[in-house]
């Protein structure tokens, strides 16, 4: 079962996303900030990352840049309410594979997740 990491500072959003992925047959783990995610992750643990942009501490953009520098190869989906076009193109330019705005429909999110997991090559760890 593919495992998805969720980074969002809002607890209600984290819980909702977690439940959606669970009912859709995906495993997931939630983090309230980029720093928490970076501290907890292990190589190959996650098949995809869903992150917010505006967060206290490290922002979503910083997180994407960090992962790209590490050549982590982890597909990243941005799920944010930021409407700023330059931020969006910047995120996509530095390696985000999708930019979804809140609120998002389950079809969109699950579709993007399926695509991201498939494109990450490994498909599944198992």
């Amino acid at each position: 079962m593919p495992t998805v990491a969720i980074v969002d500072d809002d607890e209600a959003v984290r819980e909702a996303l977690g439940d959606l992925l669970m009912v859709s047959g995906l495993a997931c783990e939630c983090f309230e900030g980029a720093a928490e995610f970076l501290a907890a992750r292990r190589v190959g643990q996650f098949d995809c990352l869903v992150t917010d942009i505006r967060m206290p501490g490290m922002s979503g953009i910083e997180l994407i840049a960090r992962l790209r520098n590490e050549r982590a190869g982890l597909p990243v989906i941005v799920l944010s309410s930021v409407l700023d076009e330059s931020t969006r193109s910047h995120a996509l330019a530095i390696g985000a594979c999708a930019w979804l705005t809140k609120p998002v429909t389950d079809e969109h999110l699950l579709g993007a997740l399926a695509q991201a997991i498939a494109s990450s090559g490994s498909g599944s760890k198992r």
Binding site: D10, A12, A16, D19, S24, S81, L83, T101, L109
Partner: protein, 677 residues
Amino acid sequence: MTATLLDPLESDVAGIAELASESIVILDPAGIIRYWNPAAERLFGWPALAVCGTDGAQLSPAPADEANAWSQLLQEGAWEGRIRRRTRDGDVRVAKIRRYLRYDAAGTLRDVVEYARAEPEAPGPTGADDPVPDRSMAASWEIDVAPAADILARLAARAPGADTSERDELLHGLVNAARIVEVNDRTARLVGGNRGRALMAGQSVAAFWPVESRTILADLILDALADRGSRSVHRRLASDGILRDPLVTVWRAGDDRPDRLFVAVDGAADDDRSYLYLRASEARYRKLIHYMPVALWQVDASHMGKIYAELRSRGVTDFAAHLDDHPELVEFAAASVPVTDVNRCAIELVGGAGVQDLIRPVGYLFTESPDSLRRVMIGRFSGRKNYSEFMKIRALDGRLLDVRFSVTYPEPLLELDTTIFSLEDVTERLRIETELRQLQADFSHAARISTLGELTSSIAHEVNQPLAAIMTNAETSLRWLARDEPDIGKVAQLTTRIATSARRADDIVRRIRGMAVKQAPEPVPVALNDVVQESLLFVRHEIETRGIRVTTSYARSVPKIVGDRIQLQQVIVNLLINAAQAVETSSENEREIHVATAAGTESGAVLTLRDRGPGIAPEHLGQIFDGFFTTKAQGMGIGLAICRSIVAAHGGDVSASNHPDGGAEFRVELPPARPAP
């Protein structure tokens, strides 16, 4: 007092004085004869041509008498008596004359008019034994001793030589109980103040008679009452500051009116300020009042004063409650208290055609605000010196005016019973104030919208978070329900979360709508600590995403303030955004804002907001609250200007300084809530 004669020097109908059978002479204030009619030519034998332009006193064989008569005329305004005047053929003619002073519109002495008739050659018997040579010049009184009947009876029953102090007391009681029936003009002028003859009638003789000579008057009254022949009794008094060596004469009115007595007081006015001086001073005073740029009403509420005194003697202390039970008393005052005089400005204010339109009972001033009259009455009853309030009046031409109404009550015993109303038209001022308030509200609303604009992405984020959670939870629920065996427990949990998130979204929208909607400021008692917490919610996201720490310290004993909640939030939000921008570029451990509340001096509330940014350049300290002053590339420079205008509108003060340990510190002081009036 002023002669109604048409002035032969000025009038086109000079012929009237020319044809008069009585001698008419007009002299200027220096005593120079200016006009001399044909009757004067016949009486004194001098043709007008010979005497006009000469000093009238030179015609007198006794210049000292003439000088006395002249000075008494100038002091009293009128003189009546006998003069002797040399005729052309060397005889001396005795004439009975009346002289009056005449004044121009400004109150300055213009001239003297003298009417004269020949005195019969042989003085009549009455003239010889008349103790008062100029009876008509006396200050005369008619008094009624019927109310003193008890005292008279006790005095009559006393053994002669008994305790004199008790007798003195009874004599004082007699004068006190005796009532004035009528007085002449001179009496009213000398002792009546400005009350006039009509107001003296019915009052106690003691209210006007000098205290030193009351027992003498009482003795004279007893003597006169005892004299069966109705002869007059008289005594000369010591000068009393009113008249010099006055001679008091008392006689009974007649057998048909046994309780009535006449009193005549003769003597020259003993006042350094002569009548002329007083007349001029009064004229100046009247002129001053007349042209005063404040609308003034003179009102005679003396009869209300008596009613109040009577109510007090009956034990009424809570006059407001009394008026609640007797609203007719207010109506009575409105209909019965007369306006006795008004000035020019008063006529302009209410738009009357002239004084006569305003000289009527005061009710017309209170048609729009009857409660104001009630409060004016309560003010007088409770012994206040003055009272003032804002009220509306209906002008005579129908305009509705906002006025500041002030009343100055008469001071008992010190002055005449005259109440003065002054009305100041504040219609225009109130209109401008309303416009300014509206402008200020528009301005601060515009600034709030601009602030919200700056916070758009934060707000979108804040609203979208719960919306995102709601949508995802709803869709997840649908997925659970679509399963072969729906997990109702799970769906219930998700639905609960949906409701929670929906409420959260609602709170946020409500908060923002408060800032965005344009509404008139609504001052209510608010707790400063609450307003600070609400303001922090607004910028929480903005501050968190910039990695700024906000520390707070709320004092527990902050007094409540009165203010518009939204506007106060706006002040704090502006200051917070300002501080956030100041520390944005600081190193991480310096990105800190400290907010504190405290009780202020004079029981107000104080908010201080300190950042650890670079502080304010000293040369900018004086300007940062000025509109359109900004050091930021994108700033409009209205945030702090708005803060100052809002705080000022709340009666408070906002100041900025640099903290000794670095960073800027803003201090907002707000006055305490006043107890509701």
